[in-house]
């Protein structure tokens, strides 16, 4: 596994921050047009790839050199994904994988280079078309992020990007799971790429009343407050994550470090292009994921909610969870990683899968922070404000995307 987030750029620092309830949300570091309503988020625009790589002593020098060379002219997102992918690659022991041609790469994410594209559009119009970034024609593509990391790690199995809006991460995990079950690959890197935040999209989401922009601009770390009565919209952020999926037999045979078991996944559509969440669609996705994993709702003891801090979204998800789990829904921890890292959009499913795995492994559930006023509509144990011990062993992680795209994955604690 590997992550780059505003609360840590390694698995260890990410976990420490999650348990301590640290928020990665602040005012923008990058210059944002004053006319944009959005003022706060999880900003990784100052990510220093060379410095990050310099802090990883176990990376072979030729890989570090190749990474910096590949990323020399690249915008932000390929660098974040490469950093996360390198961590996962090493953590999974892939340098020793016998048949590199059987390792594929699926990347969750679309519209990821938005900031880069906007900058070059402005250069085209305000300066001169010939002065756009020379490699723009290649680097603007989502697939360039995928391909650059694939070249970095010499991955030549099945490789493509997966688009599912805010559910992209889970969708990519599902796609990789299917490829492995079908025998099309021996191992799969699943990376989650964020969208490079830029003012036009941010302004657009604010105009849809989806994004928090009213009450917390002067206290940004309080803005992402899933399930809380004062929630007013999601807080965008940039994070990248990467996991390596492999059939159990193969992983065991080569002595790989196994963090958890991916037991199943499912996705449904609401046949509705709006941002409105649908209770039935979410219930179906969760139930189908449990079916795919061949487990019962009664065995689930932890849920990592999608919970973006919107009024309607959090309420509908709470209802969906209650519908599937019944009484049990109130008695198990249901927390929201987004309360600390914000909503990293297309990367969310991968980063939150990692948060889920860490909690299964450590037997601790992280808090949902910023719980100041409970909402009577939300009848769940959201692990308010403080982490606690919980020997959890079967988890759901939900992601629900704009356009009625629902997904859920099932993860089990791995006891060696």
């Amino acid at each position: 596994m590997g992550v780059v987030t505003p609360i840590g750029d390694t698995i260890e620092t990410f976990w420490t921050s999650l348990v301590s309830g640290r928020s990665g949300i602040g005012r923008w570091k990058r210059p944002i047009d004053e006319r944009c309503y959005a003022r706060i988020g999880g900003d990784l625009s100052d990510f220093d790839l060379a410095a990050h790589l310099g802090r990883q002593p176990r990376y072979a020098p030729h890989l570090v050199k190749r990474c910096l060379s590949l990323m020399r002219a690249s915008p932000l997102v390929p660098k974040l994904v490469a950093a996360a992918a390198l961590q996962a690659y090493h953590d999974a022991g892939l340098p020793g994988f016998r048949d590199a041609g059987r390792i594929g790469h699926v990347m969750a994410g679309h519209n990821v280079n938005a900031g880069y594209i906007v900058q070059n559009v402005l250069t085209f119009h305000q300066s001169d078309p010939d002065y756009i970034e020379p490699l723009f024609g290649l680097l603007c593509l989502d697939t360039d992020v995928l391909a650059a990391s694939s070249e970095l790690l010499s991955l030549s199995g099945p490789s493509f990007t997966v688009g599912g809006a805010c559910a992209s991460g889970n969708m990519a995990i599902l796609a990789a799971l299917d490829l492995l079950r079908a025998g099309r690959a021996g191992a799969m890197l699943v990376s989650g790429a964020p969208i490079e935040l830029e003012p036009v999209a941010l302004h657009g989401w604010t105009m849809l009343e989806a994004l928090s922009y009213q009450s917390f601009n002067d206290a940004p770390e309080r803005a992402s407050r899933p399930f809380d009565a004062l929630r007013e919209g999601f807080v965008p952020s940039e994070c990248a994550g990467a996991v390596v999926l492999e059939p159990l037999d193969g992983a065991r045979a080569r002595g790989a470090r196994i963090h958890a078991e991916l037991l199943g996944a499912a996705t449904t559509s609401d046949a509705c292009r709006l941002t409105r969440p649908d209770l039935d669609g979410q219930v179906r996705a969760i139930q189908l994921a449990l079916d795919d994993a061949r487990v019962d709702a009664v065995d689930v003891d932890y849920i990592n909610a999608h919970a973006t801090s919107t009024r309607l979204g959090d309420a509908v998800e709470a209802s969906a969870i209650t519908r599937v789990l019944g009484e049990r829904a109130r008695r198990i921890p249901v927390n929201a990683t987004k309360s600390m890292i914000g909503h990293c959009l297309s990367a969310a499913g991968v980063v939150e899968a990692i948060a889920t795995v860490l909690q299964l492994t450590h037997g601790i559930v992280h808090p949902t922070i910023n719980q100041e006023q409970s909402d009577p509509e939300i009848d769940l144990d959201v692990v308010p404000n403080r982490a606690r011990h919980a020997a959890v062993s079967l988890a759901l992680s939900n992601s629900f995307g704009f356009g009625g795209l629902n997904s859920s994955i099932v993860l089990g604690r791995f006891d060696a």
């Binding site: 060379s69 020399r72 002219a73 300066s127 001169d128 010939d130 002065y131 020379p134 490699l135 290649l138």
Partner: protein, 85 residues
């Protein structure tokens, strides 16, 4: 702007972008292809040089430039045209 200044801009971009050129001497007779540059590296060296020198160069004429000398000849001809914004 002098030819020498244009040469320095191109040379700096070659050294920065074409890793295969490390340690090799760059002169007007240098061909980037012979240095081992790939097509993207050549596009980058040429485009960044044009941008830094605030030139307007017809793209169709770039294709025929084989050496640094050919490029500089083209840049000098273009410098006599009105500069871009």
């Amino acid at each position: 702007m002098t030819r020498s200044q244009m040469f320095e801009a191109v040379k700096a971009n070659i050294e920065r972008i074409v890793e295969e050129a490390a340690g090799r001497e760059i002169t007007e007779s240098t061909s980037m292809v012979d240095l081992g540059a790939d097509s993207l590296q050549i596009v980058e060296v040429v485009s960044r040089s044009i941008k830094e020198l605030r030139l307007k160069v017809p793209r169709t004429e770039l294709a025929s430039a084989q050496t640094v000398k050919d490029l500089l000849d083209l840049f000098e001809r273009s410098a006599q045209q009105p500069a871009a914004r």
